[in-house]
Symmetry: C2
Subunit: 421 residues, 2 copies
Amino acid sequence: MSSIREMAVRARQAARSLGQASAKQKNAALLAMADSLVAGTDDLIAANNRDIEAARERGMTDSMLDRLTLTPQRVADIAEGLRQIVQLPDPVGETLDGWTRPNGLQIQRVRVPLGVIGIIYESRPNVTADAAGLCLKSGNACLLRGGSEALHSNAFIADRLSKAAESEGLPADSIQLIATADREAARELMRMNGLVDVLIPRGGAGLIRSVIENATVPVIETGTGNCHIYVDGSADLDSALQIIVNAKCSRPSVCNAVETVLIHEVIAEDFLPIVGPRLSESGVEIRGCERTREIAVEMGLPVLIRPATEDDWHTEYSSLVLAIRIVDSLDDALTHIHTYGTRHSESIITEDYSSSRRFLNEVDAACVYVNASTRFSDGFEFGFGAEIGISNQKLHARGPMGLRELTTYKYVIRGDGQIRE
Amino acid sequence: MSSIREMAVRARQAARSLGQASAKQKNAALLAMADSLVAGTDDLIAANNRDIEAARERGMTDSMLDRLTLTPQRVADIAEGLRQIVQLPDPVGETLDGWTRPNGLQIQRVRVPLGVIGIIYESRPNVTADAAGLCLKSGNACLLRGGSEALHSNAFIADRLSKAAESEGLPADSIQLIATADREAARELMRMNGLVDVLIPRGGAGLIRSVIENATVPVIETGTGNCHIYVDGSADLDSALQIIVNAKCSRPSVCNAVETVLIHEVIAEDFLPIVGPRLSESGVEIRGCERTREIAVEMGLPVLIRPATEDDWHTEYSSLVLAIRIVDSLDDALTHIHTYGTRHSESIITEDYSSSRRFLNEVDAACVYVNASTRFSDGFEFGFGAEIGISNQKLHARGPMGLRELTTYKYVIRGDGQIRE
């Protein structure tokens, strides 16, 4: 048996017992995990330094190095994240619905853990603790496969967390790290049908594509957000301005940031002179459709003169770049979003009831907003607490995935001798 | 663009409008579909005869030929199935939950169609109509890929259904059949990420394995049921006997039939002399563990003398064969089920409260029963109405999948200018 398969078998065994653990036991383990990380701060930072040195030698960029780096404060934050999971309600055991059949069979649908969750992620070592904590609280064993550049940090964290869980009576194999840079190991993990119940990739588009391409285990696709804000003809332009600036500038690198703004033609000449300069002041590079550029020329708005191409409509910039397109109508906006959107988060700014109703009904996305920033698509902002990611697919979970989304259900059926006719 | 991609693009376009259709419109379409099939009975049977002749020439077995064959009565039954779907509540638009955030954002989770569903299935032409009807009622466009042996029958059915839907104002492309025997077409369908939202294979183990192996689109795995009944030490033996006979003999070919019976040792000598001859009378071939066979020798029960091997514990016989194993304890039974079960349907026969509680909690399966036949794992028996299949995986849907399981949700968020801090 390969070492990955052995780990998966042990994970499935651990999941069997972890799935029966009480919230009390799991919470005690989470607190022990947090304490153990804090107590190990110096050793963790030493392990992290080995990763940083190796990464620096390989010429890693400063922004990547920053993601990889742990400090005492960052370790304290990771521990605090684990403690916050303690406060969240345990999703396991909730009765989702129940009914009695004419023959007397009593059927209940009850929330249970998924079982074994594989997480494949990139450089940031905090994901090791976040993912392990969320999986543990939801009763799932996890197989963690982090980026090779964080191997020493991740190995230290996973080892600490596993031992802390064990100290509270939970199986040590509830938390396992696949501690090898070997790519074949990740591929093997992706094909552990029957042992691994779901894979959640967290990272860039390349990582996610590779998992979708290679996995035979079910995958929850996360991440890509080509989000739009449509400024309707009836919009409050002040509010539209605030929302667009917030959605683009508050954190441009994340998936719920806006990438394209669609503007109804009846307000284009009023709104462009407001929004263009304001975004430009915030450092945003704007790429406009032909009509936007015509207005820019007419009205003398040089910040709106750069052209958008077909590629721009498809692009998730993840940076301070924004595309603007003038549309004829709500229908036109809906078609643009249908054509180019990634079904993540879409917002309409409007004071018109019928436009709001149509937008909410007709846009096919995980999160559809009226008069609010797309940046709210987030587990904390929704009130779920920490999230394992934001799902971009329709199967199983959509949008921010918290503890509830790390569960499935089973039917519990109580009879008194029923047989089928 | 390949023809499969073109079909998928048209399906996605159709789904956009079908997803907005009212229950009234969809029900009218279902009734028109039923009427149209009945009106076309003679032509459908002529098309079916072409399939049957070709299949006979290729030497198809009688039981396969029977599955393929349509008669006027079978056509009427298919139409009746469509009419029954009219009676089921429309799942689309249900508010699953909703809350208001401290900042005033009002969040609702609303049930919506999945979008485009690909169904890959084998010989029985009734699946074409069943699947199309369930997809349409749940607001989903479908791409149907039936077995090549039923090509003429399926093409006729799909064409009638599509036209009938169109006559009621729904998009004709809501129902499309991939009418080619080319295997490459099925593979292409499995990789239509972004256009096809889910694939549901319906058929034998080979088909399902092939879809899991080749698909990059999310799949719902259906079908395999290695189901157990555990007769506890405290069981009512009469009831146990009725349930086992029902679960094995009422329809041995289906996935919710029982394959292995586990018997607590304290009742083995009482129960084996009852259950063995009774099953044998019903034509069941029994394969026993070593202890079963020892008792058979002691007590002179020749029907229990055939040995079970390790392979038997893994086997879904789908026929009148049953394995019997004597276990030391409930724990022993739980471990057997954990090791060999396919997480489909498992039942305990017991009068002991604590055994029932432990079995319900600890068995990891879609349907876990106390004192009832595993044969109830079925959409109709659960009260869902017609089912598209029985899910064998944990992601998205578990157990019988009715209309509700053909939906996802989206978050609808109403604000009044909220931006994220």
